[in-house]
């Protein structure tokens, strides 16, 4: 069973690495440089920045689903997926928040501006970070798990606001895909973006699965330690 799980991990890791190798090759060798207003060469950050934001949405959705299910009926597996979703949402949120400002410096002339999309995204990442901190330092009791699950559900409500903020309130952030505002003037740029989504889908699946597996192992270890202590095997525990 263990070796089968390792096989899944390495298989998914291999596919992800191949997808990223193809993506990097396409982005730097095939996709043309964007217009100077879009940041020129720096616009190539876009092929990772946008798929990373999509991966954050996927992680948030997994966190939301698992947290809602946990609130309806607690189980270790649901808690593990909720925790994994929150951790991955923070990781991908950090990718978006570090790659975006570096691109913005070239396209907008500043690293950061309190634009509606940037501000709402920062808020989302902070909420997921609060969930992760709560899970790390708050203990693994049912009350803490429930509180974290409730916070995750509330935090995910912010994700549609992040997505639609740019359409609703404008701001500096362009509506890249639906309105063609991100410098996607060439068909190869659209192909590169598509490859970015494929690679990031594999990566988010790999990370979500491996973090959920880790969270389940933590629960199993805690249960075993309790059992060992109850049986008088303190040294082993």
């Amino acid at each position: 069973m263990q070796s089968r799980k390792d096989l899944v991990f390495y298989g998914l890791l291999g596919l992800t690495l191949i997808a990223f190798a193809v993506l990097i090759g396409f982005v730097f060798l095939v996709a043309p440089e964007a217009q100077p207003q879009a940041g020129g060469l720096a616009q190539k950050i876009f092929y990772f920045h946008v798929p990373a934001a999509y991966a954050m949405y996927v992680s948030g959705a997994v966190c939301f689903g698992a947290s809602a299910l946990y609130l309806a009926g607690p189980s270790d597996a649901r808690d593990a997926w909720a925790k994994s979703g929150a951790e991955c949402a923070v990781a991908f949120g950090m990718l978006v928040l570090t790659s975006g400002p570096l691109w913005a410096k070239k396209a907008w002339g500043v690293y950061w501006t309190w634009d509606p999309r940037l501000t709402t995204l920062l808020l989302s990442v902070l909420i997921y970070a609060a969930v992760v901190v709560l899970r790390v330092f708050g203990g693994g009791g049912d009350a803490e798990r429930r509180f974290a699950a409730a916070l995750s559900v509330l935090g995910t409500v912010n994700l549609p606001i992040v997505h639609y903020s740019v359409k609703k309130w404008g701001g500096n952030h362009p509506t890249v895909i639906t309105q063609g505002g991100g410098g996607l003037s060439h068909p190869d740029m659209k192909t590169a973006l598509l490859l970015g989504f494929v690679a990031m889908t594999l990566l988010v699946a790999l990370l979500l699965w491996s973090r959920a597996r880790l969270a389940l192992a933590e629960s199993r270890l805690a249960a075993l330690q309790e059992q060992a202590a109850a049986e008088g095997l303190e040294e082993a525990a």
């Binding site: 263990q2 207003q37 879009a38 940041g39 020129g40 060469l41 720096a42 190539k44 950050i45 990772f48 990373a52 990781a91 950090m94 990718l95 570090t98 790659s99 570096l102 691109w103 410096k105 070239k106 396209a107 907008w108 002339g109 500043v110 501006t113 740019v166 359409k167 309130w169 404008g170 701001g171 500096n172 952030h173 362009p174 509506t175 309105q179 063609g180 505002g181 410098g183 990566l203 790999l206 990370l207 491996s210 973090r211 597996r213 880790l214 192992a217 933590e218 199993r220 270890l221 075993l224 330690q225 059992q227 060992a228 049986e231 008088g232 095997l233 303190e234 040294e235 082993a236 525990a237």
Partner: protein, 79 residues
């Protein structure tokens, strides 16, 4: 690069790249691109690597505990 913000409507700003008023585009695109890729890959590989290492440690510990409990079950509990 600093003049168009005053005239750009919110709808224009959401469909095109418009520089922020007062912002200065001075850093080279190459430096920004390289920094972005280094930071992104460091974050991702760190997250994946640390998780994998923690998983291996945890599985070793679970194995040790299970073996100890099996021994405890067959040879009686430790005093």
């Amino acid at each position: 690069m600093q003049t168009s913000t005053q005239t750009a409507a919110p709808s224009d700003r959401s469909t095109a790249f418009v520089p922020v008023e007062g912002g200065q585009e001075t850093t080279s695109a190459e430096a920004l691109l390289i920094t972005a890729y280094i930071v992104m890959w460091a974050l991702l590989l760190g997250f994946l690597g640390l998780g994998y290492r923690r998983q291996s440690r945890m599985e070793t510990r679970i194995g040790e505990l299970e073996r100890a409990m099996t021994r405890g079950g067959t040879s009686g509990r430790t005093p």
